[in-house]
């Protein structure tokens, strides 16, 4: 074996450590932590950067170069933007315009790279369809490009960094290693969260030694994430493709499919984020939460304040507010006010911004019309909610019911539950046709006999069903406790050490025994890693 082959094998082996969720948590993470701890504080960020690059290369091979080049580009652009901000030789207005031009150029470059890797085939195929409509067909040869790991996530982080530097909310970092680490930190590179430079940079670059509390709480969070991911999501996963094949015509099957996929997706994504947050915590980095009991939200808008929070706040801060306050939008709002009055004008700017937010949300999820539909679905629902909220509250006061009363809460919960699962049904459907036919069947053929007859043939045995739904009950119980702010961790920590240890041993063995891994299970990719 020559040196190149040896290095390649070493990277693949290390990559295997990182890719398998078990190996990541039992070997990759401890090995990285030990090397980190043994390294002098000043150099610890280089250990994290090295581990992140190896992690990246093991999953995305040579595409690591793209991430590194983008890091260099972002680092340089941020310094350039800051330089313009500090340049007092030019007038303020001119300076702002120049800074904005540089920022826009930087953002467009980053978006072009993203589009180049992820959306070219989609655009090409749609160009072919459009050209056929005009009877001047063009050809498109599929490129099937592999995208660098986490490009959708780190592109947004890079945009937020450049924008924040441009807004002078943060200073441009002079250290290329810092910017590269921010854009490739291994726990968050696969599925986010989409963190802000100002939030995690301090702890990430400080090189603080690992302490007992961070280590213990980090691993406890990882265990919770593993439970959600491999005991619930991965056990449920084999049943999902059959439910979405489009071969079942029962509305009952469509409803169960929507419900089961919603559970799988939430457990997979929020479980992975728990693992990410726990892993970062080990190194003293406290990452932003991405989920706060989303199913207890009071409406669709509130749901998106609790589900994939960092994506929502990104769109809020970098699309919604800037668009709402943009001069052309303000001018347009004034015109609307003159024509249609204050009532309509009140909704104009937020609606335009909301439309762009949800279009971006749909497109960000990937090159598929079902994702764009998913974005538009929430745009329409939130728009309707915004209009109806006030009349609804007036109606409640008329019938002497408070917003917090149980009937209102139950109504809101049921309404939102169906909104969520129908949205997820379209989100998961391979094509719009499948989604529409499943949706129609709920209204035209709502029977449950086919579901009941086939529930035993969904690639899940009885015990897998039991462990999934018992696991779900545990997650619901914990979510309720979190929602009512019951101090779970404090209560646990107040228990005698033997009881506490026993509790964690039981948790670990539940994951080992009921997890879907090893022989007889196919490894399940992280759902949000594909976006």
């Amino acid at each position: 074996m020559n040196t190149g082959e040896f290095i390649n094998d070493l990277i693949l082996w290390w990559g295997d450590l990182s890719y398998s969720v078990w190996m990541f948590f039992a070997l990759f993470l401890p090995l990285t932590a030990v090397i980190y701890q043994l390294t002098p504080a000043k150099s610890r960020k280089f250990v994290l950067l090295g581990a992140s690059w190896v992690f990246f290369a093991s999953l995305s091979k040579w595409l690591l170069i793209v991430n590194i080049l983008e890091s260099v580009f972002v680092w340089k652009m941020a310094l350039q933007i800051e330089k313009i901000s500090k340049d007092k030789s030019i007038k303020r207005k001119e300076r702002a315009a120049k800074r904005t031009r540089t920022l826009v150029w930087g953002i467009i470059s980053l978006l072009l790279i993203l589009v180049g890797f992820k959306y070219l085939d989609f655009l090409g195929l749609n160009l072919v369809r459009i050209s056929q409509l005009f009877r001047h067909p063009v050809n498109w040869k599929m490129l099937n490009l592999a995208a660098p790991l986490g490009i959708s996530y780190y592109t947004l982080m890079a945009i937020s960094y450049l924008t924040d530097v441009s807004r002078e909310d943060i200073k441009a970092d002079k250290s290329l290693a810092n910017v590269a680490l921010y854009l490739s930190f291994f726990p968050k590179i696969v599925e986010g969260p989409i963190t802000r430079y100002g939030e995690d940079s301090k702890a990430l670059f400080a090189g603080n030694p690992i302490n007992y509390n961070d280590l213990a709480q980090g691993y406890q969070r990882i265990a919770w994430g593993l439970f959600k991911k491999i005991v619930i999501a991965d056990q449920l996963a084999p049943s999902i493709p059959a439910l979405f094949e489009g071969t079942y015509t029962d509305g009952g099957v469509a409803l169960y499919a929507a419900f089961a996929f919603t559970i799988q997706e939430y457990m997979d994504f929020s479980g992975s984020i728990d693992i990410v947050i726990g892993s970062a915590r080990i190194f003293g980095v406290r990452m932003a939460e991405n989920f706060t009991q989303p199913f207890f939200a009071k409406n669709a808008s509130d749901f998106w304040h609790r589900w994939h929070i960092t994506l929502g706040t990104f769109f809020r801060d970098y699309i919604f507010y800037p668009v709402s306050l943009a001069k052309p939008v303000m001018k347009f709002t004034k015109k609307v006010k003159n024509i249609a009055g204050q009532g309509v004008a009140h909704f104009t700017a937020p609606t335009i911004a909301l439309f762009l937010v949800w279009l971006s949300n749909g497109i960000w999820h990937g090159p598929r019309w079902t994702y764009i539909f998913y974005g538009m679905y929430y745009f329409v629902l939130i728009f309707i909610e915004n209009i109806l909220e006030e009349p609804f509250l007036k109606f409640l006061s008329k019938i002497h019911l408070s917003e917090e009363s149980i009937p209102v809460r139950v109504f809101r919960f049921v309404k939102l539950f169906f909104i969520i699962i129908i949205g997820e049904m379209f989100f998961r459907a391979q094509t719009m046709e499948v989604g529409i036919s499943m949706f129609k069947s709920i209204f035209t053929n709502l029977r449950f006999d086919m579901l009941l007859a086939n529930i035993g043939n969904l690639n899940m045995d009885f015990y897998a069903f039991v462990s999934v739904y018992a696991g779900l009950a545990v997650v619901i119980a914990v979510s309720i406790m979190k929602e009512i702010r019951f101090p779970i961790r404090a209560k646990l920590e107040s228990l005698p050490i033997a009881v506490r240890f026993t509790f964690w041993y039981v948790c670990i063995f539940v994951i080992i025994i009921f997890g879907a891994y090893g022989t007889g299970y196919s490894s399940e990719d992280l759902i949000y890693a594909q976006f």
């Binding site: 082996w13 295997d16 450590l17 398998s20 078990w22 190996m23 039992a26 070997l27 007992y212 280590l215 213990a216 007859a453 529930i455 035993g456 043939n457 045995d461 009885f462 015990y463 069903f465 050490i497 240890f501 964690w504 041993y505 670990i508 063995f509 080992i512 025994i513 009921f514 997890g515 891994y517 090893g518 022989t519 007889g520």
Partner: protein, 321 residues
């Protein structure tokens, strides 16, 4: 307590926690590791055990063991209808030999078949109960700590349940055979047996499991028969010779249907271009094997025995013949 004391205390707590965890994992590994007959896929072998245990005690005359080639080629219902003896396909997709042997051994807890037929495709695939430890560190972990390999052990301890009954019912209706209406013609050479390497060797693990099955058959007073089903994509002269050598050396009967004229038409008799038999192909293979077994082994005809009335009923209910 000072900072140093607190640090020491934390280190001690972490060490105690990890030590007890290690002991628990090792103890659990020792508890779940089978004392003998390790298997690769405990879920598969367990499913088959549940299915075959649903058959009436001592009611099976012949067991067919092997991978997917078996359940696509040999139909116990057709064999019963044509010859009157009972049989069961103890096969699963990509089944490793260790699991095939374990399935047969477990099935003998309830049955005492006179013949064990092993389809030979499984003799040239990985037979080990363990995954390749060099291929992935997770495999090494499973090998080192069997709790990770046998973590679904509880399924073998708990009873089978109603939710699985539909799968088991379907399985038992066809006695392990799987029906397909798929047909994709094989368009390769008719001389496929001459293709491939000049020599083939069974791995040491395959030989060990084959010897174990042979000894087991002897111990149970059963005959072992090796059968190779027609299969252009997976069989050739080199493999035939390796099996024939072993069979001769161990005085075990071997029949290779690739070398017999059983009227296979490769346009209609394969479901996937030469890998597995189509339903039409399975009729020809079952017909040949039925004759072979009837002529060479003293198998009872149960067709007029009211105790085996359910077999005739299954044949009618299946509605595929």
């Amino acid at each position: 307590m000072g900072d140093l004391g607190k640090k020491k205390n934390n280190i001690l707590k972490a060490a105690a926690f990890l030590s007890v965890l290690a002991i628990l994992i090792i103890a659990a590994s020792l508890a779940v590791k089978p004392k003998y007959g390790e298997v690769y896929d405990i879920s598969k072998t367990n499913r088959k055990q549940i299915a075959v245990s649903a058959e009436k005690k001592d009611s099976i005359d012949v067991f067919f063991a092997g991978d997917s080639v078996v359940y696509r080629s040999i139909s116990p219902l057709q064999l019963f209808a044509d010859h009157g003896f009972t049989s069961y396909d103890l096969s699963d997709s990509a089944l490793r030999l260790c699991d095939a042997v374990s399935m047969v051994e477990t099935a003998y807890e309830k049955h005492s078949a006179k013949v064990i037929v092993l389809e030979t495709d499984a003799l040239f695939t990985d037979a080990s109960p363990h995954r390749d430890v060099y291929a992935h560190p997770a495999n090494a972990l499973e090998d080192l700590l069997p709790i990770f390999h046998y973590h679904v052990f509880y399924k073998t301890w708990l009873p089978s349940v109603a939710a699985e009954s539909s799968t088991v019912d379907l399985h038992n209706l066809l006695k392990g055979f799987e029906y397909t209406d798929s047909v994709i013609a094989y368009e390769g050479s008719a001389d496929y047996m001459k293709e491939g390497p000049s020599r083939a060797r069974m791995s040491k693990e395959c030989l060990d499991y084959l010897n174990e099955l042979h000894s087991f058959a002897k111990e149970k007073g059963a005959e072992l028969l090796l059968v190779s089903v027609p299969r252009p994509l997976g069989w050739n002269d080199a493999r035939h010779d390796a099996v024939a050598d072993w069979a001769e050396k161990n005085s075990v009967s071997y029949t290779d249907l690739n070398k017999e004229d059983i009227g296979i038409d490769w346009k209609t008799d394969t479901m996937d271009a030469g890998d597995h038999m189509s339903f039409e192909g399975s009729k020809k293979v079952s017909s040949y094997i039925g004759r072979y077994l009837t002529e060479n082994y003293n198998l009872e005809d149960h067709r007029d025995d009211p105790d085996y009335g359910s077999w005739a009923e299954s044949y009618r209910e299946a509605g595929i013949y």
